[in-house]
């Protein structure tokens, strides 16, 4: 059980670090958003589960579950709001897009 907690903790923090490196290396806002949200939330969830295995059933476990659930619920909404603002104010690097489903030509 302790070994499993360690593995989850290390994998989760590696995911966080990978996400941050992607945030530094990727060329435009939308790809940085992709790097900053998806691996990041998986990293937080793995870390939270790892700590939860270590803590065991208690009041603290409830707080951890709450933090994980709120992170899982709020991060996609926040990322959606940022990407929507970026698209609406036309800050998208169009040369990096393969398909633009939101452009006028793509709408039926």
């Amino acid at each position: 059980m302790d070994l499993l907690a360690m593995v989850l903790l290390l994998v989760g923090s590696l995911f966080s670090l990978t996400a941050a490196i992607g945030l530094l290396r990727f060329p435009d806002v939308l790809s940085r958003l992709h790097a900053a949200t998806k691996p990041q939330v998986l990293g937080v969830l793995l870390v939270v589960v790892g700590i939860g295995l270590r803590v065991g059933p208690s009041l603290d476990l409830g707080l951890l579950v709450l933090a994980g659930v709120f992170q899982l619920l709020t991060l996609p909404v926040a990322a959606h709001m940022v990407s929507r603002a970026v698209y609406r104010s036309d800050q998208v690097a169009h040369e990096h897009l393969a398909i633009d489903d939101l452009s006028a030509g793509a709408q039926d």
């Binding site: 966080s16 670090l17 490196i21 900053a36 949200t37 990041q40 933090a67 603002a85 104010s89």
Partner: protein
């Protein structure tokens, strides 16, 4: 055993520092908003790991608050991103 926890904390702290660097560099307000979000998410992990290392369960409340504050921050910054350019 606690060495591995410290190592994980160092990894997450590196993630926080990289995101802070992106927030400082920009170049657009949208990049800063994304980076601020990443800073908050990574620091939630850091605070949770720290609560185990210091044996201070109260820090988990701080982590929960950081999740919600990070969400509100990103929503607010996204409105700012939308307003910085004049729309046609």
């Amino acid at each position: 055993m606690s060495g591995l926890w410290t190592f994980a904390l160092v990894l997450v702290a590196g993630a926080v520092l990289a995101a802070v660097w992106r927030a400082l560099r920009g170049p657009t307000p949208a990049d800063r908003a994304v980076a601020a979000e990443a800073v908050f998410v990574a620091s939630v992990s850091a605070i949770a790991i720290l609560s185990v290392l210091l044996d201070a369960p109260l820090l988990l409340d701080v982590a929960l608050v950081a999740v919600l504050v990070g969400f509100l921050t990103t929503i607010g910054l996204s409105h700012f991103v939308d307003r910085t350019e004049d729309r046609t």
